[in-house]
């Protein structure tokens, strides 16, 4: 392979560092009206009366909107395939506000200052309602977060708004009670994870304008431009043909932009005023009024025989989806579907649970998408089981984990909101990943612990993980290749580069197929008018799904080039071959260069424009795998944890771009480390979010990261483009469990609630049972 498995530099890398205008707020027109949003100060309230006259009359204010001024069509904001597996429970603006930060009214003015001043002139009378703030007591609560009759689910998912239930699910393989009864050793644990914040450096941003054809153009920092077009059309009662969505450069997303954020409001203002408008979220708004990770309670029970053969897994989850149900069902299901198949030799598996509405900030998609929460609970439990068995935790995993060529019944049972697809694992190098990881971590010298001095102890811990590569029979990607004179190509893809470098790796795939240099492929992406459909950047689908569509498209283009070349060499198509530079006749050795061919195609003889296009839908979702190893040092007097070393060995199939793949894993690891150790979500006594700025919500800095070593296993997925699977999410899955296990091995303290803080450790060491 020449262009694939090569660390080609990102095409936009230099431009971005040098400060070229590239992000939504750089591109917004200078005269765009600035939108500011009046947000609910109450957890839950009904707007009894709202008076916007004074605000509207303020000089410089062009538009003030409330729920009375916008169409009332209920939709979901979640950027997912249609029919969406998320309940339709959101209006553009509503008379109910369901969390502190929910939109009450919108002001658009000629400057930000005027808009802010006008907000203060809006008079609102609220009927304050009793909020639901504890997801563990949401079901029996007399307060109903979604009383509106219009809310519904697109297919049966246990949607019961009267009980504040967004969805429920249950699945069984075998009989779990019986299986557990037969087990020699059983461990049970209750785990809690928090509503982690994405903290993408670029806040949610969008701007809209009406073009000369009278169409609504939305430029937005988004992961899902095509879903956005559909949802905006539905919400406003417009035809999709009247809407264009463009994604410019995005300053980070990680799932936080896989849903509508400000686009409803820029659309509403621009449609009303016919003027350009923009909404750039403040950091406080990003924390309080976009999305967060689903906070979960996970109850895990594992049972095995005395030889360490895992026989039964029971996982029950209660998930907090906050005020709206974006991604509620799917995140909750992935917590099981992308963890439980790791141990496929069990007799019985049971998974069940509910996702609750509360009056918290809505939860949504976030890298890992449930798998990281599930992994924390499952992989912590595995270590507990190992200890109870008196068995080495690595040996316990090696004995029970899935092996290449095997399958799991869960693949067929659990899919995206419903049933899944039977699938056998054609590439799995977990065995190598574990071996190599233990080698690099020098595990046998460090396991389980080393006392450094009276107050300092070190320990190592590990975890294995899996994820997916797109959603089979649902996620579709497509590509268009256009040959230009002089022999360079435009590659048009719907696929959404959110900073990952997907534009670059898709160019590499096209280049590899055509036999040309990657520099010859110029990529344009994510414009709903100009680029073909793509589901968007989520579910780790870009390399596998979009990459496949690019490969197929490039194969078609190659055939077209060969056909045209053959014509001009007076040969048959199957008698010539295109090697990237020349179309050569296999018999006569005559040849024509691509450059010459293009001259003829564009200017001289039998002129035509060569364009190839193809699409791809996955028929399986081959999991990437990872083994993560953590070494920690704990100060026993203060509980302070230092992460000394983290080793991650990944099987993602072929790395299309080794450098970019490595950074995806390293970046994911540090987000997982943040979730494990540093990112705490705190509320005041009255339930208000306290960690709503970067002064209070602490993500890891470079001083927290001492050493990270990432390597890739030699692996090849036969169903993937050039053997690739995916790498976008797998990096985040292992740190919480690996670190929790390392801390247990170092100190004997088992923490089951994230984040694992020094306070929790010290208090546990001192015997405080409340931890």
């Amino acid at each position: 392979m020449k262009e694939v498995n090569k660390s080609v530099t990102k095409a936009d890398g230099l431009g971005l560092i040098m400060g070229a205008p590239a992000y939504t707020n750089d591109l917004a027109m200078n005269n765009a009206l600035v939108i500011k949003v009046l947000r609910s100060p109450h957890h839950f309230a009904k707007i009894i009366d709202i008076n916007t006259e004074k605000a509207f009359n303020m000089p410089g204010v062009e538009c003030v909107l409330t729920y009375k001024d916008v169409p009332r069509n209920i939709v979901t904001r979640a950027g997912q395939g249609y029919p969406e597996p998320s309940p339709h429970d959101k209006f553009i603006l509503d008379e109910y506000v369901r969390y502190i930060g929910d939109e009450v009214a919108v002001v658009a003015a000629i400057t930000e200052k005027i808009a802010l001043q006008a907000l203060e002139l809006i008079e609102v009378e609220y009927e304050v309602l009793e909020p639901v703030l504890d997801f563990e007591n949401a079901e029996n609560n007399t307060s109903m977060v979604h009383p509106e009759p219009e809310c519904h689910s697109m297919f049966p998912m246990g949607f019961e708004p009267a009980k504040n239930i967004a969805c429920t699910y249950e699945m069984n393989v075998g009989n779990i009670q019986e299986a557990l009864r037969k087990c020699d050793v059983v461990v049970k644990g209750k785990y809690y994870t928090k509503a982690q914040a994405h903290v993408a450096m670029e806040p949610q941003s969008s701007f809209a304008h009406i073009d000369i054809q009278g169409r609504l153009n939305i430029i937005s920092s988004t992961q899902t431009p095509f879903h956005m077009r559909r949802i905006i059309a539905e919400a406003f009662g417009m035809t999709a043909g009247k809407i264009r969505v463009i994604k410019p450069r995005v300053g980070g997303a990680y799932g936080g932009k896989q849903a509508i954020h400000g686009e409803f409001l820029v659309a509403a203002v621009t449609l009303k005023t016919r003027k350009p408008s923009k909404l750039i979220y403040t950091r406080k708004e990003v924390f309080e009024a976009t999305y967060c990770r689903h906070a979960m309670r996970l109850d895990v029970t594992l049972g095995s025989d005395k030889d360490g053969n895992l026989k039964a897994i029971d996982m029950q989850i209660l998930s907090d989806t906050g005020a709206y149900g974006e991604h509620a069902l799917t995140v909750f299901m992935v917590a099981a579907s992308k963890t439980l198949p790791l141990y496929n030799k069990v007799d019985s598996v049971h998974f069940s649970g509910k996702v609750m509405y509360t009056n918290h900030t809505p939860a949504g998609a976030f890298r890992g998408y449930g798998a990281v929460q599930g992994n924390f609970a499952l992989e912590s439990s595995m270590d507990e089981l190992a200890e109870k068995l008196g068995m080495d935790p690595i040996k316990l995993r090696e004995k029970n984990m899935i092996v290449q060529g095997e399958t799991s019944p869960i693949f067929k049972i659990m899919g995206e909101g419903g049933e899944g697809i039977e699938m056998s694992i054609e590439s799995c190098k977990l065995d190598y990943c574990i071996r190599r990881g233990t080698e690099l971590m020098r595990w046998k010298y460090k396991y389980p612990r080393n006392q450094i001095d009276k107050n300092t102890v070190r320990g190592v811990g590990m975890a294995i993980a899996m994820q997916g590569s797109g959603i089979p029979y649902m996620d579709m990607g497509s590509a268009i290749l256009k040959l230009n004179d002089e022999g360079f190509f435009n590659l048009l893809v719907g696929a959404t580069d959110i900073g990952t470098g997907s534009d670059t790796i898709l160019a590499q795939i096209a280049a590899e197929t055509l036999g040309v240099d990657t520099q010859k492929i110029i990529v344009h992406s994510s414009d709903t008018d100009l680029t073909p459909f793509d589901c968007g950047a989520y579910a780790s689908s870009t390399t596998y799904i979009s990459g496949h569509s690019v490969k197929k498209t490039a194969e078609k283009m190659k055939e077209m080039i060969e056909e045209e070349g053959a014509k001009r060499l007076d040969s048959l198509q199957n008698q010539v071959v295109f090697d990237g530079k020349f179309i050569k006749s296999l018999e006569t050795k005559e040849k024509i260069s691509l450059k010459e061919l293009c001259e003829q195609l564009y200017y001289k003889y039998d002129q035509k424009q060569l364009i190839a296009s193809s699409s791809y839908v996955g028929t399986k979702s081959p999991p990437p795998y990872m083994a993560g190893f953590a070494e920690v040092e704990v100060d026993l007097e203060t509980g302070k944890i230092k992460l000394l070393d983290y080793v991650g060995i990944v099987d993602c199939g072929t790395t299309i771009n080794p450098n970019l793949a490595k950074i995806q894993v390293e970046g994911g690891l540090v987000q997982g480390i943040g979730m494990a150790l540093f990112e705490d979500v705190k509320y005041s006594a009255s339930g208000r979010l306290l960690t709503n700025s970067l002064m209070q919500y602490t993500i890891p800095t470079r001083k927290e990261i001492n050493k990270i070593t990432v390597e890739f296993a030699e692996s090849y997925e036969p169903t993937g483009p050039y053997g690739a699977k995916s790498v976008g999410e797998i990096g985040i899955d292992t740190p919480p469990a690996a670190i929790a296990n390392a801390i247990y091995n170092a100190t004997g303290v088992r923490i089951r609630t994230l984040p694992i803080t020094p306070e929790k450790i010290l208090m546990a060491l001192k015997g405080d049972a409340s931890v």
Binding site: T9, A200, E202, N659, I663, Q671, S693
Partner: protein, 164 residues
């Protein structure tokens, strides 16, 4: 009614400050409570970006007389008489750093990059032969959510080696 900002400015006044930006001397209209970040974006220097607005992340870093400062937390009125440098003004020096970052693949969403590159430039002027700990210490105020940090170190170590 323009008057220079040597002493002060009133809300509603049209007041200009005299400041050197990227080597060029400018007179710029500002408001009393305008932050340097907004002033720079207003005059077209959009490489300077707002991320956290509390001075916690370093994305908005510009150089003031060669030293990195958080432009989101620095009043524009203070800048009078000083030299401000944004990445647009040091393209030649910045390209060197940029090429190392890009060749390591560590430049991802790019949002933190201009501020980061300027801080690195500031570091190379302030520190001679920094150790890895010195580098981490100098750059700790530049957060990055995409890259995981270790790739940055790889790139910077290579860059510094070449500089020597």
């Amino acid at each position: 009614m323009h008057r220079a900002c040597k002493k002060g400015i009133n809300r509603g006044d049209e007041v200009k400050i005299f400041v050197t930006i990227n080597g060029g001397q400018r007179n710029i209209d500002i408001e009393a409570d305008e932050m340097l970040l907004d002033m720079l974006r207003k005059i077209g220097l959009v490489s300077v970006k707002r991320a956290c607005d509390t001075g916690s992340c370093g994305v908005c870093t510009v150089l003031l007389d060669g030293y990195p400062i958080p432009s989101c937390s620095y009043y524009a009125a203070k800048a009078e008489g000083h030299n401000i440098t944004t990445i647009e003004g040091v393209q030649k020096e910045a390209i060197e750093i940029a090429e190392f970052l890009v060749s390591e693949g560590v430049e991802q969403c790019g949002y933190c990059s201009p501020g980061f590159a300027l801080t690195i430039l500031g570091m190379t002027k302030e520190l001679q032969n920094p150790t890895e700990d010195d580098i981490k210490h100098y750059l700790v105020g530049n957060l990055c959510r995409c890259s995981g940090y270790v790739g940055h170190l790889r790139a910077i170590n290579k860059y510094l080696e070449v500089k020597r």
